[in-house]
Symmetry: C5
């Protein structure tokens, strides 16, 4: 959401400033600049990546507009409940409850615990999972950043081509201003697409990625604590160290009742 709000705000700022200065928008319409910057940047960026990257792009863009920052609060609640069950009824009792959990990373890790894998094995497989997620995400983010990097360059190429043509035809000096205005237009489009579209989307994807990794690291920590037989209270204390102090509610609040410590 914030991504659309932010981009609309920035466009509004440009529009308002242009109106205050009494500048016209007609001079800013340039289909050729649009083609050169958007198609050109997409082509060049694409040539450094491959088909799977291209396929993943639209979904990533939509995600940057709609996804919310991952919040680990629920994960702590879920893990607290699993710690309770594990201590009371053993790991096998967890299997039934796994159906109610949405988070596939959490499910995969806890399934390993149920299956009796040892702590080192659980950690390893989840860390490989995290690394692999990191590689996939970073790849997409790099793609979007490449778009943001090439857009102004394509704009500059268009401007230089325009300037060269203009300078080679100085017979009618009255056209010089108009020629330069058109030439500058691709520079403008390049800078705007880079800074109002591609780079913010890339930054947002990076932000979402960081929040997702933080959530998964908390989950990994919690899964290992459940396996180690931590008490629900100790587990909450440990996991709340991962989140900001304002969000820490403590075991009692999370359990929603006077705590009777199981251990």
């Amino acid at each position: 959401m914030m991504t659309i709000v932010g981009i609309v705000t920035a466009i509004a700022a440009i529009v308002i400033a242009t109106l205050i200065d009494g500048n016209s928008f007609g001079a800013l319409i340039g289909p050729s600049s649009l083609v050169l910057v958007v198609v050109g940047a997409l082509g060049v960026s694409l040539s450094g990546f491959d088909i799977p990257d291209l396929k993943a792009l639209p979904k990533a863009i939509v995600k940057s507009f709609t996804a919310k920052l991952e919040d680990s609060d629920d994960t702590i609640d879920v893990l607290m409940r699993f710690a309770e069950i594990a201590r009371k009824d053993g790991f096998l009792a967890l299997e039934d409850k796994l159906k109610d959990v949405d988070d596939s990373f959490l499910v995969a890790g806890l399934q390993q615990v149920v299956d009796g894998a040892d702590a080192e094995a659980v950690r390893e497989i989840l860390e490989v999972e995290l690394d692999s997620l990191e590689t996939r995400h970073q790849n997409l983010i790099d793609f979007v950043k490449a778009l943001g990097g090439y857009a102004p360059t394509m704009g500059m190429i268009g401007t230089v081509i325009g300037l060269i043509n203009m300078l080679g035809n100085l017979s009618d000096p009255s056209q010089l201003g108009a020629g330069m205005a058109v030439a500058l237009l691709t520079t403008l489009y390049g800078v705007i697409f880079a800074n109002l579209v591609f780079l913010p989307i890339g930054a947002k994807l990076q932000r979402l990625h960081k929040a997702e990794v933080a959530k998964k690291e908390l989950a990994l920590d919690g899964i290992l604590a459940v396996q180690a037989g931590a008490s629900p209270r100790a587990l909450v204390e440990r996991l709340e160290a991962h989140i900001e102090p304002e969000s820490r509610r403590g075991h009692a609040a999370r359990a929603g009742q006077p705590v009777v410590e199981a251990a």
Copy 2:
């Protein structure tokens, strides 16, 4: 404090230099440039972050103006006293004194020691706490740096829009100078807001963050030493290695009396 003093000094330098050169300030007033640069940069930066980041921003800016660099001197004193008590009366005797300690990181760590957590567990939970602090701070610092990075770009966008309009209307050449002056104004605003406001605030937040992390690392080191039963003198020696040589006062001076080594 220093942040305001520094920014005011820099603005004064610009004002004085402008006066010396006999330049007028009237030509530098541009509400449209202000809107474009500040609102635009805020919008674009925001689109790469999310609501919690926006909410944390004002507090961070105030902090960059008012916060003092964290100083670890008190922490050493506190830990020295706790080491003394721990050696004389055992860890449980620490609990009473924890009420008088302000620093929540120190309290959390020492509480773990009182609760009898083993050294590895204490270290792990405090390191998670530190990592999580680092992530939160870095996120905010990146936000402020994004503002500093986008401000000149928004300024350049305004300038190019102004130039395109000016070049497309060269019928009245006498207006050319005035048009370019107005166009350049957004560039000026962009550079000034970036370099006199956003980037210094970002740098100060980074500086404050580093000092806070250094203090917390010293505290972590000291908590583990208390738990390991270090003598007050050994603890002071160890912790003073963290701070600059000029601030090292030694155990005797800190104790404020001839040392009678407890061990």
Copy 3:
């Protein structure tokens, strides 16, 4: 493939934009700019590298155009079959099947297992292999990136030389425009060769390299699992953590039949 498609798309975007604006291509032909940018950038880049790097360049460029991203799916299948055989018939039984495997990294690692090397030794030799691959690839990528970095600089050198000559011969002002147009041409060629040729090729080589390393890391992980006597199902689970969730088919699907777990 995608590299050629991408570059052609970007060139098409430039051509179409130039046609829309009614600019001519005649003004953009400059053999001297071509010589200066391409030969110059090659010379300068070469002086920072050596003959083996130059020899490896053409093959790398062809590879960037034709190579497909490495896919680890087959590797998982192969390792699953080897895990099965190893558990049923012992490591020595693997030797026969090694002939059918294409991937030399996989063969080398499994041969070590057959030869009875211990896990640490297998890991070490394969990691050295990976490091050495990384060094060789990075070297080539740096070479291509150097080409992309020097091309615009050579273009700028040509433009400055052109400007100096033009400015020194202002006797015929009507030539000024034409002179500047020619001077700007090397800048254009420099930017185009960097951004439409060298940098995308460099980015593609980097992308291919990352995919190859990811595949080899999966193979390394799998070889060690085979040696440790992992069941085919556990091995598939472990290795599929390396790849994107959509490509995970599970042991049953890979085996192509109802699973009868060997262990």
Copy 4:
């Protein structure tokens, strides 16, 4: 020393080149540019740091001009002698000789050895000391680099202000050249102060820091070797691996007499 020689050489190069071209220095005098660049850059840099940083700055600048690169030759000699004594007369015999050692890092480490701290504790306390030195130095270096980064920006701000005023008053075109000349002056001052003053000082501080760290790492290595009871010859061999081959004199040469190996 070299810092002053270098800066003077660079200034001389500028002066000579200006004289050869017949340019005048009168046009290069601009008190307003001086104020804007130096005071402005100081203000902005300061706002990102704090009072302790400002206090440490003058001493650091003086140090960059006068300090010599730390040389580890003496340290090896000292440690060789201490290794000899330690092997002959035990660690306690070292205490007397510590008075004659200047290097406080060496004294602190050897004092720990005399006090009977174990190897791990000695290493830890000295590494904390090194980290803390690194943080303090890097902070100062960042401050000086900030000065070097902001100076050209302040210069550009002055130039844009000058250009805006000039462009707004084109009524007297004969003044255009003079106005632009004055405007460019702050750019010149900004670039000169950054590249002839701040950045070289920052680079020199970095260089001195690296040499100091290298010396302290050698000392740390040697202190641990003394504690481990290394023979003087083994210690010299080990420590000389830290320094360039040309400076290696070997144990015999250092002892200044035919070696009679103690062990």
Copy 5:
């Protein structure tokens, strides 16, 4: 060699392009620009380093022109022979053969093995040696890169000084072009010296450094294998993992005869 060939090629490209465009070289001669750029950049770079760095510079430049990339092929042969001898006749038998080895790193390491140092000690001393080499080389490379970084800046300083003088003396507009041409000349010299001399030399030194480190790491690996009593065949297999697949000749080929495995 390649460095000279590369630089000459780049200069030839500039000359040919200039001739094709009919530009004159006379306009490109500027002794003042040469002084300003070369002496100025040397001065500024020097002020960030120290006398030992200056002394090492000429040798490094010569090395960048004449040195060949280190090739590890011989090292593998030598280590293979030493492994054979060590297994047949023990470590002491190696001492005689050490005289025939050129590589001082190899000799130092093998001497340690002969002297009976344990594996950890051999590894440590050789790693310190490698670190210290890295520091010395990187220092020099940084010096050359500083030259490449300051040269265009000094060029820009000269250009701005020229522009200021020209703009302040617009009384004779016919001189404007010539004045700007001269002013631009220092920019040209700065860019050329940076990109055709300093940066390629720096890149070459970096390339040579990497190859030397790779060779020494292979040697370190091999020395430890000899000490561990590896068979010649195992040693060759292990060491050949360090080099590119095309250069791997295997134990049989290296021994130049049918292999009779010693173990």
